[in-house]
Symmetry: C2
Subunit: 175 residues, 2 copies
DNA sequence: CAGCTTCGGTTCGGTCATTGAACCAACGTG
DNA sequence: CACGTTGGTTCAATGACCGAACCGAAGCTG
């Protein structure tokens, strides 16, 4: 967390986790990475985050092994940030937070998580009620809901208007 | 979150959840409340949090309906903060974070969550592998593990050296 | 009943993170 | 060779967090 002091007095796995992903914006960056966002500019526009903060978050997330920075083009040199297994392992926590936020603080349903095989919406523990199994992240589809009002200037929001399988890179079409 | 601007541009339940519980210390306060901490001074000592910050967090958590402030004694007037159903609903997210923190950033196991009925450690989705059912929070026992080195000056740490059922108020014995 | 302690705060000055805007550099394109 | 795109860094201002001090109500102690 690096704010004066960390949660050093806490002997607790939750505190340890929050030292890594508890700063402002961090979990939203991981969320976007799981949604398939990979490029600096897409994170920037979609999150509306200050550039300096985004740079800092990408740096620490890379250092902590949650994102992997990889060169995808040499000339001009361009890097992308791809979520690692350690980052994907945050998915249950993010899904639980999303469910809590939706049930307690939202009227309209913005998006839903569905099982790619059968289209059923995931249950509270990330399971598919129809198939009776826990659905791995790669088999989850993000489906837009009725309450959505996307920013037309944001290519990520536009790309998410179609159902989108998690982890796969987003296809950004230019404006 | 109230930091300059909130996550207003985000159309996302995760962002909405983080606006409520994403500030520094907030989730740790909720964690303690689920562990059974109820009194201002116990939060203060156990968390090592500045008093002003604790007051602010208790206030917003109460306003958001996550804690319930109730008078438990008239003379002298004393209030306690009891976690509500909305706060208890954060348990799956906290458990997922604890699992992630432990598996990725900790060597020794500090504590484990076990099914009160049979003593089995909970699985990754909060289920009891032996009984095959999802365990409600009230039936979870927090059991100290080998890596624990509690602060003897902290009554909450001392109380948690014995197995402790979640939600039940902590019995604080004076120094 | 004077003085000390406990509990649950508020106030305050200093520090540190976050913000938004500006700037920068490498490269490709017309 | 001007301009756009991408991926940053720098900087001043703002505001959250920090630790320490202070405060008030009530009880207990001698």
């Amino acid at each position: 967390m690096a704010l004066g002091k960390d949660y050093a007095t806490q002997e607790c796995s939750i505190a340890r986790a929050l030292e890594v992903v508890g700063e402002r914006w961090t979990l939203l960056v991981v969320r976007d990475a799981i949604y398939g966002v990979r490029r600096y500019n897409d994170f920037l526009v979609h999150l509306g985050i200050p550039r300096a903060v985004l740079s800092a978050r990408l740096k620490t997330l890379t250092e902590e092994g949650i994102l992997d920075k990889r060169r995808y083009q040499e000339a001009p040199p361009r890097d992308e940030y791809v979520v690692t297994a350690r980052g994907i392992a945050l998915w249950p926590a993010l899904r639980a937070l999303a469910l809590w936020g939706r049930e307690n603080f939202q009227e309209t349903q913005l998006r839903s998580f569905r099982h790619a095989d059968c289209g059923t919406e995931l249950g509270p523990y990330g399971e598919c009620p129809a198939c009776g199994t826990v659905v791995p992240v790669a088999d989850v589809v993000l489906v837009p809901g009725p309450g959505l009002d996307p920013d037309p200037a944001d290519p990520v929001s536009r790309a998410l208007l179609k159902p989108k399988r998690l982890l796969e890179p987003l296809e950004i079409d230019p404006v």
